[in-house]
Symmetry: C3
Subunit: 345 residues, 3 copies
């Protein structure tokens, strides 16, 4: 599962959230905080000028790929990429370890996505440079779980609250949702959390995650009733029915649209300022529509702040692995161009 940090990330692979102890998470998040001016183009840093990211996506994922690539660019580095089924050498009988030995000669760090669970760890074991898991099938996608937790922390900050003591409802396809599994694991590092698990019985959170949460001393409620579950929480974490992971895709039709949140339901049931999250993409088709478009003007809808946080969490991962976090500001300068985020230069 890769090495454990606590608390030096230099040269490490990032393969699983299980590598992260609470102090590792803390270090990562405080580093992420310092990346924000660069992600928002208030400042430019060139600390990684000359470095190369090998962005190896053996399975397509536009937004994750571009998020990693942009994060590296924002630190001043270059990106070389591979997308999708182009992996012809694997077809010719090359082992994943050989591929790793070759590709790791071309870059300073690799981000890899691959459809097969465990493949990224195998690749990393032969790589000569650090490897970040950008998703290996239904197994792990650690940067997604970390950006979710970072978002929770930031959203709670404005409310004078912390992750310890969090009240969260996870809703939807809790069986197939890799993000809710990983987030649950991360929450086991914290204290005194209330978790509402809302799904159809057939798509319930697997036992191992429920048990782990309970062993961590957390309060866990399993239910299929939406309205009650969202009544007394800080975070509503909605998810999509992952039809692509169903053996029989038509079966997904039975569940899609089962748990819908819109502004009327939110107003009626939620506490004021309850935060709404979603790992995206949200399914906006009429038959699904788990988060209605009428929530888009609700300032507590944090779903696009999540993806923005993904950028800075990934910048922080790169900065820590390559041990330049302390140098980022030294290589910084002003931005010359128009910044639409702040409406000026």
């Amino acid at each position: 599962m890769g090495q454990v940090f606590t608390v030096d990330f230099t040269g490490a692979h990032i393969l699983s959230i299980e590598q992260f102890q609470r102090e590792d998470i803390e270090k990562l998040f405080r580093t992420a905080d310092r990346m924000e001016p660069y992600a928002q183009r208030r400042r430019v840093t060139r600390v990684l000028e000359g470095a190369i990211l090998g962005n190896m996506f053996f399975e397509a994922s536009t937004r994750t790929r571009i998020s990693f690539g942009s994060a590296f660019n924002l630190l001043g580095g270059e990106v070389r990429e591979s997308v999708g089924a182009e992996s012809s050498s694997l077809v010719k009988g090359e082992s994943l370890r050989d591929t790793a030995r070759v590709l790791s000669g071309y870059s300073d760090v690799i981000c890899m996505r691959h459809p097969v669970a465990g493949s990224v760890a195998e690749f990393a074991s032969a790589s000569r440079v650090p490897v970040i898991n950008g998703g290996d099938g239904s197994n792990e996608h650690p940067s997604q779980a970390l950006l979710d937790l970072y978002t929770i922390e930031r959203e709670l900050q404005g409310r004078q609250r912390k992750i310890d003591g969090l009240r969260i409802a996870m809703i939807g396809d809790l069986k197939h949702g890799r993000t809710v599994h990983s987030l649950s694991k991360l929450l086991c590092q914290y204290r005194n959390i209330k978790v509402m698990l809302v799904s159809p019985a057939e798509l319930a959170m697997p036992d191992e995650y429920v048990s782990a949460l309970r062993e961590a001393g957390h309060q866990v409620h399993v239910t299929d009733r939406l309205e009650e579950s969202i009544a007394n929480v800080d975070i509503v974490y909605s998810t999509r029915i992952q039809e692509e992971r169903f053996q029989d895709r038509q079966q997904a039709d039975l569940y899609r649209g089962r748990f819908r949140l819109n502004q009327a339901i939110y107003t009626r049931h939620c506490e004021p300022n309850t935060v709404i999250m979603h790992p995206l993409p949200r399914d906006s088709r009429a038959e699904a529509n788990e988060l209605d478009a009428d929530l888009d003007s609700n300032p507590n809808l944090a779903i696009f702040r999540q993806t923005d946080n993904g950028l800075i969490v990934r910048m922080a991962l790169f900065a820590l692995i390559l041990d330049v976090a302390h140098l980022v500001d030294q290589h910084a300068r002003d931005v010359f161009w128009f910044n639409p985020r702040i409406g000026s230069h």
Copy 2:
């Protein structure tokens, strides 16, 4: 249709040529002039060092994509890209507006091509950064029309002439040709133009464009006879039969090769130094061959100057949108490497 400039482009989306008033065009073209030393690698500028272009091609188009990407690189910026049908999130039911909100967090400006008319404007409406339309189906492709007009202006300059007073023949598939539609619209901003529209009756220029030209006070002749039409013009603008836009592709065979220009016809019918243009790709197959290869040694063949002009017009668009046009020269320096365009360093 996007906002109207007149004449500040800062932070604007570039969605349609209808946004461009004559003074906007003038500003764009004078900015383009100043980009030429950089496009020709006589100088290097780093003014956008640290900026990121999101080059989102949801429909493949190698040359347009690379032209935009290179233009951004030539200003010192980085490019993150997506090509073709990789847009998996859209398949999972994500709205174009959600995609825009997410992707616009990763870059400073976006260039987007998409097969569906109107999609780029919809995307732009939710984007947090400026969006340039790189072609939305049969609708708009504004930078192509602008580079065509810029080429016309430059080619006429050597002949002591201006766009006002232009005489131009547009030839071929005027029904499906997006470029001749857009160019016609742009010409409505100018005075005293003669337009020969040469096509089979079935592929005639749609009425709305003909009417607009006439309402602008221009002289318009509709014909299907090539030789007469090219006799007294400054510009011959040839186009390809756009078979991919025919409902029945076999029907395209009826028209392909109908209007062919070669050196013999040119010599016999055209005034000396009549300029030959084409939006490219030209169809060089024997059955089409709208511009014969024997024209390649004719110095008035401007088709590759057109694509070169595309690069500098796109540089100018980026420089104006991001408000760095006045800073380009300040961040410039010499080129160290061999420049094949000028045969030396």
Copy 3:
């Protein structure tokens, strides 16, 4: 076949190894030596900052594409890319020469791979910037042959030997293997070489290469017996059965796995420190397994040093073509980030 250098590469196309005389090879290799600190991230150079490589892969090849792209990045330049069957303009009837004229306006140098033999030379003839052949079907792939020869030279150095006097065994599919053909041609530039050609009779080295080696005064032995052939050589160059080049793919099954090397065979038959090479990918499937994984801990297995050498040979090609080889060190500076290759900064 492209121009002959001897010995100025400035502005030249690199289309075929036939362009390389011995003094050209020598200059290239000595330039490559000087690229190593940059490939190993001990130093960063920005000499090509502002330059653009057009990395045009009209046939997919992840590792070659990324090797060229990374090489250009390591010199400070930017990379614009095209991958695979996206070449829509060719589908619309555009000639390769038109494509070359257009694309060469967007970059300072082009690397091109294309499935059709001769296509890269045709492209280069119309390009306005230097073109490097990254593989044109079964024809040429000069940088691969050069990195192989460079590897041979470096590996022999540690043994106080030179390419003159080399003893080498080439093993496997010598009929379809483009790399062994090209390497044979290059070896004709050297003196007093012993070549063991080991293959099934049906996959023998074509006569033209055997004749050329003999005319160069080399000693050539053609055989199908592995053990004897590897007994008294400096280099064992193993290759994969190129099933994709067989007319009848099932026929490839007859030969796959015929010549296997593992540690036991190596120990029993080879001289101490015999170097093992392979153009990669090696076929690690049980039925093939031409180089067993138990060789991975053998320090004489040079197959990953080969790919690392590919990076620096390609850097050298770019530096020489663009005439910046003498400037690389002037634009160099320290590396700020963690370097896993040397375990520190």
